[in-house]
């Protein structure tokens, strides 16, 4: 006979304001099976936990129900409490009377009644709980970082610094990501390359770090501590370990029509190329769509000039498979495509550019050698107009519903840099709101206005169109309540950012949750911001949500710490809530095996004693190390032999009954 204790938490006024906690405790006291019931202000506090521990000892409780916040919040806490008092941790059930009751209802009577029903359902379940013993699994002491931008580099460096092996997979031919394309960084205006390239070199030289550039994650199997990852190393047509990065091939290559990705297509590059001077690894790559040798089997000049004999036109994609204990997602972002925003004439007018393109134009290593010129004719502009929120905060279906966060600051940066370097250029900024939360951020924006006389106009732009050799901006000044028809030379669009398209693909391989905007969901928005709800997956940088460089670096470090916490363990406790086959009922039909996503079910011929009849039968056997406890097999099983520990058929039925009573 079970002896159950019920503990009702007030959560200060969070629960107590809309649920009569004392009444819940009173009602539960009279439920069959309950031998102790109480309420307390903060059950998760040390004092609250002491109440639980004492009650377990004093009343010889065999199970407990805690009526409190979501089990996603404190189930682990109360399981530990029970364990400390000598109770099996799986004899704990949580009735969620905060998130799913007190916070959504206003009427106290209604809230109290619902809380009682939820408590009864939890009680019905715990009455059928059985003690479970968690297994153990090993931990591969190696981490994988997906994405080699500043987020990935920082996470990898921090993990390697602590002495663990870490691999970076980067889909581009070089690491460095978006930050390597930036000219200066806000709010200090230090040069982006000057602070990033040393980190890139560190990553390359660190003996604990292996770089897989021009590579993509192809397949992920396994689970926390034991991921098995297949990586595709795309053919570079250049032997990475032989190439010296001398660049002779680039000088001779006659195919010069490829768009220079590093400069966002603002200029051309050769078919064989090194993305930029500080690329890591400093190794050439051949664009097979442009290479004359690969396309037509003519040319072959690069092979002739390569002293190191690094060219290999027949190189094929290679696959490697590795084991990892933890995976960091650092897949980053891209500016959105502007094909739905033709009112800005971005596609037709070369002088309408995105902010990221302006970074390249301002950069000394960029397509114009750092000279600010109109891309249409190479002339010096006299008037530049910035338009903020292009595609951000847009729920019309054309853009993104969220604020891209970084645009206000980089626009202020651009405006300031231009006014500083070219005082003859007038700069106007159309804004909806200027959002500058961050250390020294608002001061920075005010400097743009007060020191550099940047003209900030509250309002949006309806249309941009060419007229003669300049552009016309038709906008509104909402403070003056005037429509503005403004002639300008260049228009810069602060384009919304979105997660890299690979994020969704990789997230589904990792079974990490992803939100409707394709940002990876964190385990808890405040308390577990760098972890995915899927164990062993950690989040770094913009893949989790828009953020600037300092925030990205901070999050990358935090993700690394979480990885280290995992890798430093020798054994991981596994989830004991796994499937179990009743050999007496199993008829060996294999249906469960077919639906199992983890290949956790096998078959054995076993000698079965079925009510005195002894015979050898083919029965299902669950590999508890592989089973993740989804329960697909339990529903598929035609004979009802499969059940899921911790969520058994009887337990769930008992909950249903309690709710419908």
């Amino acid at each position: 006979m079970q002896r159950i204790g019920v503990f009702v938490c007030w959560c200060g006024s969070n629960i107590a304001a809309t649920v009569d906690v004392e009444r819940v405790a009173q009602v539960m006291k009279n439920e069959p099976g309950v031998v102790f019931s109480t309420d307390y202000q903060y059950m998760c506090s040390e004092a609250g936990q002491a109440i639980i521990r004492n009650a377990i000892a004093e009343h010889k409780l065999t199970g407990i129900v805690v009526c409190s916040c979501s089990p996603r919040m404190h189930e682990a806490t109360f399981r530990k409490t029970a364990q400390r008092a000598g109770l099996n941790p799986y004899m704990v059930e949580i009735a969620n009377i905060r998130e799913q009751c007190s916070w959504i209802h206003k009427d106290k009577e209604e809230g109290t009644e619902k809380a009682i029903v939820l408590a009864r359902a939890a009680l019905a379940k715990v009455m059928l709980n059985a003690p479970l013993i968690a297994g153990q699994s090993s931990v591969t002491k190696r981490a994988l970082v997906i994405g080699g931008g500043i987020a990935g580099i920082q996470s990898a460096l921090d993990i390697a610094d602590a002495g663990y092996e870490v691999d970076i997979v980067e889909k581009e031919p070089t690491i460095g990501g978006k930050m390597s394309k930036l000219d200066k960084t806000f709010p200090t205006l230090d040069c982006s390359a000057c602070i990033l390239t040393p980190k890139m070199v560190d990553a390359a030289q660190n003996e604990k770090i292996t770089l897989y550039t021009y590579s993509e994650v192809e397949e992920v199997k396994g689970f926390v501590g034991n991921f098995n990852v297949k990586i595709r190393r795309k053919a570079r047509y250049v032997k990475e370990d032989v190439c010296t990065g001398c660049g002779a091939c680039m000088q001779k290559c006659p195919s010069k029509k490829g768009l220079n990705e590093f400069n966002l297509g603002l200029n051309k590059r050769t078919a064989i190329y090194i993305p930029f001077a500080q690329a890591i690894p400093n190794v050439a790559v051949i664009d097979a769509t442009q290479c004359i040798k690969i396309k037509n089997n003519k040319c072959g000049l690069c092979d002739t000039v390569c002293a190191a004999k690094a060219i290999d036109y027949n190189q094929q994609d290679e696959f490697i498979e590795r084991e990892y204990g933890a995976i960091v997602m650092a897949t980053g972002f891209n500016p959105i495509k502007l094909d739905k925003f033709n009112e800005y004439s971005y596609a037709e007018c070369p002088d309408v550019i995105t902010s990221l393109e302006l970074e390249r134009i301002m950069n000394a290593a960029g397509p114009t050698g750092g000279k600010l010129v109109k891309m249409s004719n190479g002339e010096h502009p006299h008037d530049i107009t910035f338009i903020q929120c292009v595609g951000s905060r847009d729920i019309s279906g054309r853009g993104k519903c969220y604020c891209s966060k970084i645009c206000c600051m980089y626009t202020a940066k651009h405006a300031m840099l231009i006014r500083d370097k070219y005082p003859d250029v007038n700069v106007h900024v159309f804004y909806i709101d200027v959002r500058t939360p961050g250390k020294n951020f608002d001061e920075f924006y005010r400097r743009a206005v007060e020191e550099y006389s940047v003209d900030y106009i509250k309002g949006q732009v309806g249309k941009v169109y060419p007229e003669g050799d300049h552009l016309v901006v038709q906008g509104v000044d909402m403070l003056a309540n005037e429509q503005i028809i403004h002639k300008t030379d260049m228009v810069v669009l602060a384009t919304a950012i979105e997660p890299d398209p690979t994020a969704r693909k990789i997230a589904s391989m990792l079974t990490a949750s992803i939100d409707t905007n394709d940002f990876i969901t964190e385990a808890h928005p405040k308390l577990r911001p760098v972890e995915s709800p899927t164990a062993g997956i950690f989040l770094s940088g913009v893949c989790q949500g828009p953020k600037d460089i300092p925030e990205t670096v901070a999050q990358a470090g935090a993700a690394a710490v979480k990885v280290l916490g995992l890798l430093s363990k020798d054994k991981l406790v596994t989830n004991p809530c796994v499937s179990q086959s009743n050999e007496l009922l199993c008829n060996g039909c294999s249906m469960c095996q077919n639906v199992c996503p983890y290949g956790a079910i096998g078959y054995e011929d076993k000698l079965i004693n079925d009510h005195g009849i002894r015979e050898t039968r083919r029965v299902a056997v669950v590999n508890e190390a592989l089973c993740q406890g989804c329960g697909a097999c339990t529903v598929t099983c035609p004979s009802g032999a499969m059940d899921l520990k911790g969520f058994t058929n009887k337990q769930i039925m008992a909950e249903v009954d309690a709710i419908c009573k």
């Binding site: 009112e343 929120c389 905060r393 847009d394 729920i395 019309s396 279906g397 054309r398 853009g399 909806i432 509250k458 309002g459 949006q460 732009v461 309806g462 249309k463 038709q474 906008g475 509104v476 909402m478 309540n481 429509q483 503005i484």
Partner: protein, 130 residues
């Protein structure tokens, strides 16, 4: 009075299905409007005044007859607020009131110049009277 303005707000919402509170006051509607300078209340003000229940003022304003229903604001609004639809609803409210006719058949003979297409007359009648 307050009650009446709430009623009118509800009425506008029923006619348009537009939740004007979605507006984030970016001004893109007014930036796009070809009739901006002809209007006493500009498209963004229409949206704001509907949210505040100042519908009588809008109904009394000649601005309601200056909207060209060209849908530039509807097309470009990042919040799906559809200012042109709001303007038309207010014009409808004004026209449905007794004496709210803006265009009467008496005016027609004077305006016909031999080239006026039927369409112009039909649309003027549709737009400006009930």
């Amino acid at each position: 009075m307050h009650n009446n303005s709430d009623k009118q707000k509800d009425q506008v919402f029923r006619m348009t299905g537009v939740d004007t509170r979605k507006c984030m006051k970016c001004g893109k509607c007014s930036a796009s409007c070809p009739s901006f300078n002809e209007m006493q209340y500009r498209p963004h003000q229409f949206v704001d005044m509907v949210t505040k229940g100042r519908i009588e003022e809008l109904m009394a304003s000649p601005s309601i007859y200056h909207c060209l229903s060209c849908f530039a604001c509807v097309e470009r609004c990042p919040r799906g607020v559809e200012p042109a639809v709001v303007v038309e609803a207010i014009r409808n409210l004004a026209e449905r009131k007794q004496g709210g006719t803006y265009f009467s058949p008496d005016e027609v003979p004077e305006l016909i110049d031999g080239t006026v297409p039927q369409q112009a007359l039909v649309s003027a009648f549709r737009k400006y009277r009930k």
